[in-house]
């Protein structure tokens, strides 16, 4: 079986790939500053016995895709490291050093409220962890590279970026870094590192196992896909069964020819939201463009998806609820407005957004996080943080396929939103 697990609570994404041989690979990592990656915890639960990962992949250097990746190398022996093409390039590391020295954050660090230098430090930690392992095989995520797995039963083919895209990203990176020191040893005050589009480096990967195909599109945006169709024609990707949608479901991540080529009414798309930015994702336009191509679209956090896109994402599964504390019942009797804070499936009172949580409820939730499950979804799943205890069961989509494209097993977390294809 070929398994794919997408985790995305709203501040980053990780995809875990289970290979038919029983080996496991990880694509991208997210974590808060002082916490380990939630996906690492999930991996430990999923495969408590494994000590070695087949591969770890870093698609591009944005904080929602790279934070905490070094911890996988600390915990596991890693056979291969698949990296975006400029990783360890002098200009790239110099760029992050300059960001740190200038106390500047890029748009994603800012959105995630990480201090300046976070990506720089984590990249260095990652390089250090790689050095410590010594014999990790590096593989660059550049189009047409094909990595053979499971003695040839599975292949991983890199779709983006192609040579043209690599050239473009490296040129912008060099120009941006050069403009930093335009005036000599002092930083150029007009330097704008946020203008550097790291998504241009995004490595997207197509896994093939017999007839089964899984496409992970990372944060590749339209121009990268245009480079692919320019080079390989209008149908560069065969039909796939599972897509991890590009760039959190933004309109920029959509490319008509690519989706026409890769998707059909058997395909499902999973999006991970990113709701911290000025332009929250997925967008209404982005999702509406996807719906005609596929059977189903899932977004790993329905509340953030609703907020960002304005569409009515529905949760497929209900979640377990603990018993209500007697104090809460008494409080609700005294103040019926508090009922709107609770799960509306139980109370039939939709959350208005106006009622605040009583302070003592906040205290008890902090001490007993399971009580959070009693609160209504819009209240508790808006801007989820890394401290969510059950992140791996709420904001995860897992699918397992045989080699004929049939779904053998699946799990849709109770925080995941769903829209049917049109």
């Amino acid at each position: 079986m070929l398994g794919v697990h997408v985790l995305g609570p709203g501040f980053g994404e990780t995809i875990i790939i289970e290979l038919p041989s029983g080996e496991v690979g990880v694509v991208d990592s997210f974590a808060a500053r002082y916490t380990g990656p939630p996906a690492l915890e999930y991996l430990s639960q999923l495969h408590p016995a494994i000590k070695k990962l087949k591969f770890v992949a870093l698609t591009h250097p944005h904080a929602d895709h790279c934070m905490g990746m070094f911890r996988y190398f600390e915990k596991y022996e890693v056979e291969e490291f698949w990296h975006f093409h400029s990783f360890i390039n002098h200009t790239c590391m110099g760029f992050f050093k300059a960001m740190h020295d200038n106390k500047t954050r890029d748009a994603v660090e800012k959105a995630l409220d990480l201090p300046a230098g976070s990506v720089w430090l984590d990249s260095l930690r990652l390089k250090n962890a790689l050095d410590k392992q010594g014999d990790v095989k590096p593989r660059a995520l550049v189009a047409t590279h094909t990595f053979v797995l499971c003695n040839g039963a599975v292949t991983a083919k890199v779709i983006t970026p192609n040579d043209q895209s690599c050239w473009r990203y490296n040129t912008i990176l060099a120009e941006t870094t050069e403009s930093l020191l335009q005036d000599g040893p002092n930083f150029n005050p007009t330097w704008n590192p946020s203008g550097l589009p790291h998504n241009q480096a995004s490595g997207s990967i197509l896994f093939e196992y017999g007839q089964t195909r899984i496409l992970l599109m990372a944060d590749a945006e339209e121009d990268l896909w245009t480079d692919v169709t320019d080079e390989q024609g209008d149908n560069p990707i065969p039909k796939v069964h599972f897509i991890k949608g590009a760039h959190h479901g933004s309109k920029n991540g959509y490319h008509h020819k690519i989706y026409t080529s890769a998707a059909n009414k058997n395909t499902i798309i999973v999006l991970t939201p990113f709701n911290r930015n000025k332009y929250p994702l997925p967008t209404n336009d982005g999702v509406n463009l996807l719906l005609p191509h596929v059977k189903d679209v899932y977004c790993t956090n329905s509340v953030e998806a609703c907020d960002a896109s304005g569409l009515a994402w529905k949760c497929v599964n209900t979640r377990p609820s603990p018993a209500m504390p007697p104090e809460w019942i008494a409080d609700c009797r005294a103040n019926p407005q508090l009922l709107t804070l609770l799960e509306d499936q139980q109370t039939k009172h939709p959350y208005s957004g106006r009622v605040s949580l009583p302070r003592k409820w906040a205290h008890v939730c902090q001490k007993h996080p399971e009580l959070l499950q009693l609160l209504c979804q819009p209240l508790r799943n808006r801007r989820v943080t890394a401290k969510r205890p059950d992140i791996i069961n709420e904001f995860r989509v897992s699918m397992k396929y045989d080699n004929n494209g049939n779904v053998v097993d699946s799990f849709i977390g109770w925080g995941v939103g769903h829209l049917p294809g049109i």
Binding site: I88, H100, P138, H145, P358, R359, H363, L375, T385
Partner: protein, 176 residues
Amino acid sequence: MPGVRGKCSNKLAEWIDSPVDDVARYVKVMNSWATSHDSIPEPWLPEEAKQPEPRPASAFKVSPDVTLIRRLGTVPAPAFIETVTGRKARCLVQVAGAELPVEIPIRILESRGLRIGDRFMWWMSEDGSITAEDIDDMPPNRLTDAEEAEGQRLYDSLREQVAKGCTWGMNPTQER
């Protein structure tokens, strides 16, 4: 309003017919200076300004007070002031991995120098009561000294590697 006018008139008359003789008072004071100089303060000398008293802590932006003993049973949660309506501030509090809206009296936040958009650490009490002492500053949002040192050490090590000739990852076309 004759009555009122009458009252005013009476008061005015009292003032005009005041028995106190200002001149006589002045003379008395002058004489007293002359006769007992030591007993009288020296108003003509420039008075040394008192050291300004430290402003009450409430007037400052919140500063972490590690010596402060927290109330029994309080637990910390990072919070952010989202809106203010009337005398209540709606704050988003990070509780168990969620950002939940909680109301806090604005006077308490103001007494700690906090306004809309500010962040703070709230030590939540079991009964929901809140005092100014339950509000702390957030740690500064920057890399810690240890993180800075670690970053610098790793970066220097990377530069050494580069100087010796980086081993891999430089040329993606090698792996085609």
